[in-house]
Symmetry: C2
Subunit: 350 residues, 2 copies
């Protein structure tokens, strides 16, 4: 037991080092290093020999050692508040595509919950010197965390949400929301409810706010009233969509003929719950969302499409370019969105 521990702790025999390769090939470690990394100043004959020996010995460079020597870990961090929600899992997939193509690793930091519900705290210690760059996914960050973030001196970019003084990539939320609301108005709806996302609980997270603002301004521009009792709150989940519908329909008084939902998941919750309540979509109620979730097509949900995977992929590309010396590669960019009209929106009942 003692021996096993000792060996494991010291790294022991478990692995072929660059010196083993150098000795076997009859060259110095410096030459092996150059050869395996494809650098110049190694003759073709020597290079070939070294590569053969390395392959035969199954040599793989220790990432810790080269990380220590170069100051680069070849790893990018991804900071996300969730991983199993549509936007985030898609974004992670997109980031991974680019990282994989460039031989980088992906280190996932899941903060689990956002805003005041945050279970875990992001701190400098978590990522400091462990990653070369950081991709932040649509996070609500506390001032404290933001402060930590600034202190880490690495390329950083935010996807899907606006964080003070950081480059960010995402759709034009105002335009996307306006498009969705205008679609409802164009169909003839006048009584439109709003199912918006988080608001008060989140700091520095203005995606929900922008979507709310767009709704109100478009409504006002069309001369339509915004009724406070039709302003429902949700947290972007299916369940919160269901609950919002229930609250809306339980309340006495007139009912809206359409709902603009700040996310597809919430829109789907509304649709499922409407079905249970015998409210027909779109005959009695039109529903429009934002995202183009994987299930949107199957459900016939009218929505505004965005592609988080492409956004994250682009962001990752920028970060890696920056690391490769392309200074100024990291910069804000607006991702495209598109209204997809399906079967959950129609003219209001006459």
């Amino acid at each position: 037991m003692a021996r096993i521990t000792e060996r494991a702790q010291r790294g022991g025999h478990s692995g072929v080092s660059i010196e083993d390769v150098a000795a076997a090939a009859g060259v110095s470690t410096a030459t092996v290093s150059r050869a395996v990394r494809g650098l110049p100043r190694v003759s073709p004959a020597t290079r070939e020999k070294i590569l053969d020996v390395a392959a035969a010995l199954g040599y793989v460079a220790s990432s810790s050692a080269s990380g220590l020597a170069t100051g680069r870990t070849k790893t990018m961090g991804v900071l996300a508040p969730f991983v199993s929600r549509w936007f985030f899992s898609k974004a992670i997939e997109g980031a991974d595509r680019e990282l994989h193509a460039r031989q980088y690793n992906l280190s996932l930091f899941n903060l689990g919950g956002h805003g005041s519900n945050r279970e875990r705290l992001f701190s400098k210690t978590m990522v400091y010197k462990q990653i070369d760059a950081l991709l932040v996914l649509c996070m609500a960050l506390t001032p404290d965390e933001l402060d930590h973030l600034q202190k880490i001196d690495i390329p950083l970019i935010v996807v899907g949400g606006h964080v003070e003084e950081c480059a960010y990539i995402g759709i034009d939320d105002y335009a996307a929301s306006s498009t969705a609301v205008r679609h409802l108005i164009d169909l003839g709806h006048r009584d439109i409810a709003l199912l918006h996302g988080d608001d008060e609980t989140d700091l520095n997270f203005d995606v929900p706010r922008v979507r709310i603002l767009a709704f109100k301004e478009v409504m006002a521009a069309a001369g339509l009233p915004v009724r406070p009792e039709w302003d429902e709150w949700g947290d972007f989940t299916l369940r919160s969509g269901q609950e919002a519908f229930r609250r809306l329909w339980e309340r006495p008084g007139p009912k809206p003929t359409a709902i603009f939902c700040a996310s597809d998941e919430m829109a789907m919750g509304v649709i499922f719950e409407a079905a249970r309540a015998g409210v027909r979509v779109p005959e009695d109620l039109s529903v429009v969302g934002i995202d183009d979730h994987d299930f949107a097509d199957a459900m016939g949900l009218t929505t505004v499409r965005q592609r988080p995977d492409e956004q994250a992929e682009l962001a990752t590309k920028m970060l890696l370019d920056e690391l490769n010396g392309v200074s100024g590669a990291v910069r804000s960019a607006v991702a495209p969105h598109k209204l997809i009209v399906r079967r959950t929106t129609a003219a209001p009942p006459s």
Copy 2:
């Protein structure tokens, strides 16, 4: 200040090293190392002083350096064929919970596609010496990849699928499938279709096979026929469920009164498509799935619940215990499952 400049000019990386702390506190690096890690042989007074200095300087140990010295990276790898599908994203979340609690990092390796559709290859180089342990999520692995896996000499466990000679954690697929099928039979169904998952394209991936086997044996035991024309194929996605339903209903001849689907996503595809085709669920067609997907409750889907997050969490716990010297901590275990009866199953039309 002078020191910082000097370091920068020498090509030193930005950041405070253990030596800076040692110098500032007037002790040796060895003592700093012990102090910050909470090891004994440091007097309380010295420890406090060192911690103060370290905090003031914003010292964070370089993971590369300590990784090199200890042979441990404090990082666990997670190998997954997808990240945005329900099972995988939940499992990743579960693994992360445990890792985070134990101060470990999570490195994500997404192989994108499985079996013959595999876009990327898993090789030793990817993870060798970068991670202390590896969690494999429900992967179909090629013999080649399996070979690489064996060569990496680290604790390893598989979640949600059986891989030769590896410890694995997952539900009893045979029992889970049997339960679902028996539920349909108990309701009075005799004409039951099967929507199974991948089969021929996947190597070493017998979850689908076991589910098929369970279906056939339970049907046989009940004296019911298994019709080959009602044996449909899918790849666990929503879309494949939709397509399977369409194929089933386009084909001339009698229709089944129930479908057993090997995953909830496929079951939902069937339900959506049935709705479009005017087939009522459960009046005309009962549908049962496996998983208890996030959407299952809202859709009223009868299913067999499993918790990939808990499975992955347990697996991660085992791996970390093993790393902490608890030899034999990694071992196979059967995760619980439970039939959840909701509104997509009912007695067949008389």
